[in-house]
């Protein structure tokens, strides 16, 4: 039927983008992102993979500060990701008064 969904429009994606945007260009590991965005690993990783595939997220391996632990995968938004995250954040801020207005009109 050719019905495509709006990309990156889900609540969980917005939460993740918000968490990534909050720390600017700082690298974050998966567990920290899961906690900040309040997402489970089952939701977090598909989102990370998708954002990465879209070029909105970059990743790198970083040695652990704790001895005896393996290196961790760290993530941060790319420039394009930051633009999108800001756009989403702005839309969310604009959306509330618009909803209030709509609710008031009915």
């Amino acid at each position: 039927m050719g019905m495509s969904r709006t990309p990156n429009a889900s609540r969980q994606t917005r939460q993740l983008l918000g968490a990534l945007l909050e720390q600017g260009r700082t690298w974050r590991h998966g567990y920290a992102l899961a906690k900040e965005a309040d997402l489970s690993s089952g939701t977090l990783y598909p989102l990370l993979i998708r954002l990465h595939d879209q070029g909105l997220l970059e990743s790198r391996w970083q040695e652990s500060e704790r001895t005896g632990r393996p290196p961790r995968h760290y993530y941060r938004l790319t420039a394009a990701g930051v633009v999108l995250a800001r756009e989403k954040a702005m839309n969310a801020a604009v959306g509330v008064p618009r909803l209030r207005k709509l609710a008031g009109a009915t």
Binding site: R5, L44, I49
Partner: protein
């Protein structure tokens, strides 16, 4: 469970997730495994590992199996309802329920048959992602339904102008209780299986707010079960109840299909770019 066992189980699960993800996602599998080793809480580690397994299967298979299950489940529900509507018209015609409207007995049944077949065309087109061509998609359900109708009509002629189950019930060829039970059980199974086909993928993928969608999809199942019980009666009241149940469950199925296929579900978590394009195609 001991700490060692939980840790070992978590590690095995993530290992499995990495193998499911395949070589093209090797880095992600390794990232999951390494992240697991940084978690201090055993409970969190186990939950993390389970989420990783889920991620792996979603990434690898969701675009095909789960999508097919979802759209297939909705299509199955619509198909069964349309077939029942056709059957209802047929039953109403033979039982005399429709005679009171002053129309030729065959007209309402024929109209319902045509409407049902047209709706089935739409269902086929709506789910055409599963079919090679639009024409095949449009024709499959109507042809299937029409063949069902013809078969039932033939069986009814054999049963001296009465539907098979009414005939069996009234003439006592099979004990009424057996007939009623068989129809009720088959209706229950049909409704439950159909609902499961719709609900399970939703619940597995969209844990958040899945209850709303699950409820929406379960309503047709409940109504199907109710209507299956009333099918055993031949009174006008039973037919009316059956019509209402069918109309309601069909409406629920249509809403579920539209909800799944359109942009209404934007608040649901998006899936990976690899699979999202195929979702509800």
């Amino acid at each position: 469970m001991s700490q060692v066992f939980i840790r070992s189980l978590g590690a095995r699960l993530v290992e499995h997730a990495a193998s499911v993800l395949g070589p093209e996602r090797r880095d992600w599998g390794t990232a999951m495994a390494h992240e697991l080793q940084h978690l201090d809480s055993d409970r969190q580690a186990l939950l993390w590992a389970l989420g990783c397994v889920w991620t792996a299967y979603v990434e690898r298979y969701s675009g095909r199996a789960l999508s097919a299950l979802l759209s297939g489940g909705v299509a199955l529900l619509l198909l069964s309802n349309m077939a029942r509507l056709v059957l209802l018209g047929f039953l109403g015609w033979y039982s005399g329920f429709l005679h009171g409207f002053g129309l030729s007995p065959a007209v309402p049944a024929a109209a319902q048959l045509v409407a049902g077949l047209l709706l089935l065309c739409l269902v086929g087109i709506a789910t055409q992602g599963r079919w090679q061509t639009r024409l095949l998609a449009a024709l499959f359900f109507p042809v299937f339904s029409f063949l069902t109708f013809v078969t039932l009509a033939f069986c009814s002629q054999l049963a001296q102008r009465s539907t098979p189950w009414l005939s069996y019930r009234h003439h006592g060829r099979i004990p009424a209780l057996w007939v009623d039970s068989a129809i009720a059980v088959s209706g229950f199974l049909q409704g439950t299986l159909t609902a499961l086909l719709i609900v399970v993928p939703f619940v597995l993928i969209y844990r958040s707010r899945a209850a709303v969608i699950a409820l929406l999809a379960l309503l047709p199942a409940v109504s199907l079960q109710l209507t299956s019980v009333t099918q055993t009666a031949s009174s006008a009241h039973a037919l009316l109840v059956m019509s209402m149940g069918l109309a309601w469950s069909t409406a629920c199925a249509v809403v579920t299909l539209l909800w799944c296929a359109s942009g209404i579900n934007r608040w649901l978590p998006s899936r990976s770019s690899r699979t999202s394009d195929r979702w509800c195609a």
